[in-house]
Amino acid sequence: MSPINLDQADLDFAAELSRRPGGAGISKCYACGACSAICPVMTFKEDYDPRRLIRLILLGQKETVLRNPLIWFCAACYSCQEVCPQQVDFTELSFALRNWAVDEGAGPPALVGQIGLLSQQGRLYAIDEFAADKRTKQGLPAVEEQPADYDKLLGDLRVRLAKGGEGDA
């Protein structure tokens, strides 16, 4: 692996992140590793390591972090937040990173697809005719799809995704 070169690093990355919602904790971390010790995700995804991610952020590795699929692995169990002696709130940090990644057009492609489905049909899995017939036979009311509501809710995110994608291209 080639060495990390700080001359090309965006060394204000951590400070900028700390000004984003959920990112304030980044400047408190002492790298004690309590989060990595308790993280349940690490038990099945070995390269996922909150402490490493924090250090990469501090070293200004903006592209490496935001384009890293690992930031999407956090299961939001809040275990790290329970044990952190410094109230770094790594879970919140994860959300801040994901939001930023989306802004940078680095959101995972599946996310774009899922937003499309929700906006078009109001749910990820469409109610097909077979299921609708079953509901009728059971005396259940027909499902009324209201994709417009989702579109309203997710419209902003879709715009951001589209914008980030454009910026990336």
Binding site: M1, N5, D7, S27, R52, L59, G60
Partner: protein, 458 residues
């Protein structure tokens, strides 16, 4: 006598002694001002060569002569830290072997935050948790200061534009490289030459960075490891404790500075018409315990009973009651003492007790209050009396309660041994009949004493 009183005796026996403020600049002025405001006399002294004595009776040797003081107050001006070069990217590398105190590290973070360019701060085990320090540490990060703790420090390769640094990141275990315009290696405050000289002269226990009196349980600030010597605002490097330190110092001054002529009332038994009034005893006393009160007078509180004044008195006028050396005096000059033979052991009574040691036969043990009592005359007298092998046991350097008594004994032994060797070399070709040896001992080293005795007697 009047001449002596006016000209020679700087020691004010009848009046109260001042507090000596060692140092110069604002800190010394502030300390002297506070002490004088409390009603005590002070004397500000730039540099001292040596400080001897006990609480209440310190003798400070300066280039211009000596001064007496009841208490010693060490101060110093801390030099302004060197400015950092104005570059876009600056590496601040703190020697990882240092364990900087939190106050100093806080100042370093302040400077890093105020620095116009970007600062990469490398340190070993800097403590970042503490009052206000956590906040400062966060603020520094917020300001873009990159703090990296490395056990061994980064590798620094100078280039034309500055330096190229590389290190293995402690968290990532990956190699990291960076280019900076300059590298600075700040150190915590180092003591000024004046303060270093005073610390050496006093034999104080130095702190981690050379300051006196580490801030610990035994010597809480402003006290130092020497009673009666204070270092306000220096212990633990916390200048903001100055006021508290001065208050504590003032509270202890009355016991040190109040005049008490009765302390000097004990005579040295020298008023037999033998005293030559040469003042040698006053000069030689390692703790300045001897003053002048119509003759040499000793301060019993300060006196260590080392007997060095007895050794130097040219007319042997001093025969103090408290030096238990009847054996020695008698074996040297007293009538009725049989001439000795064989081996003489001259031993400081703070060295191991020779009684339980399995002594070779014919060893005459002479216990002394201090090995410093052994001078050339004593050695010559012993040889003249018939002792051919002489072992002198003094204390280790720094352990001698009379400061340099053991050193004086060592010098006497070396001088006399050299003289004897030359005599033997000329007149006795077989030449090892007379042997003089000096050893240093601690109270728990009787085995070394036994070994040395065996060597000397064989």
């Amino acid at each position: 006598m009047k001449l002596f009183k006016g000209k020679w005796l700087a020691r004010p026996i009848q009046e109260s002694l001042p507090a000596a403020v060692v140092g110069r600049g604002p800190a010394a002025e502030a300390a002297a001002g506070a002490i004088e405001a409390a009603g005590w006399r002070t004397e500000v002294i730039d540099q001292v060569k040596s400080i001897v004595g006990l609480p209440g009776y310190f003798r400070l040797q300066t280039a211009a002569g000596h001064r007496w003081a009841g208490a010693v107050v060490l101060t110093e001006n801390r030099p302004a830290p060197a400015p950092w070069p104005e570059v876009d990217r600056l590496a601040v590398v703190v020697d990882p072997s240092l364990h900087p105190d939190p106050a100093w590290f806080g100042q370093l973070l302040d400077r890093a935050m105020d620095f116009p360019g970007r600062v990469f701060l490398f340190c070993g085990q800097a403590k970042v948790a503490g009052p206000d320090l956590s906040t400062k540490y966060r603020a520094a990060r917020q300001a873009g200061v990159l703090v990296t703790r490395l056990a061994a420090g980064p590798e620094i390769n100078p280039t034309d534009q500055g330096a190229r640094l590389s290190f293995s990141d402690p968290v990532l275990a990956d190699d990291v490289e960076l280019t900076v315009g300059a590298v600075v290696s700040p150190r915590p405050w180092t003591p000024s030459p004046e303060l270093s000289a005073a610390v050496t002269a006093l034999g104080l226990i130095p702190g981690p960075d050379g300051y006196p009196a580490p801030d610990n349980v035994l010597f809480p600030a402003p006290r130092t490891s020497r009673a009666g010597v204070f270092a306000p605002g220096l212990a633990g490097g916390r200048p903001d404790d100055w006021d508290r330190d001065i208050d504590l110092l003032l509270a202890e001054l009355p016991a040190l500075l109040a005049a008490d002529p009765a302390k000097f009332a004990l005579s040295l038994n020298s008023d037999r018409g033998e005293c030559a009034e040469c003042l040698t005893c006053l000069r030689v006393c390692p703790v300045g315990a001897i003053g002048w009160l119509d003759g040499p007078a000793v301060n019993p509180v300060a006196c260590l009973q080392c007997g060095q004044c007895v050794a130097v008195c040219p007319v042997r006028a001093i025969r103090p009651d408290w030096v238990e050396e009847k054996d020695l005096i008698e074996s040297l000059i007293g009538p009725g003492t049989e001439p000795g033979a064989g081996t003489a052991l001259l031993i400081c009574n703070r060295a191991p007790d020779p009684d339980p040691v399995d002594l070779p036969a014919g060893v005459k043990v002479i216990k002394l209050a201090c090995a410093g009592r052994v001078d050339d005359l004593v050695l010559a007298g012993l040889i003249g009396w018939g002792y051919e092998r002489i072992l002198i046991a003094g204390c280790h350097n720094g352990n001698c309660r009379s400061l340099d008594g053991a050193d004086k004994a060592a010098a006497s032994a070396e001088r006399t041994a050299g003289l004897i060797e030359r005599l033997q070399g000329n007149r006795r070709p077989d030449g090892d009949r007379i042997a003089i040896r000096f050893i240093r001992l601690a109270p728990n080293q009787p085995h070394i004493l036994a070994q040395a005795l065996a060597e000397v007697t064989s």
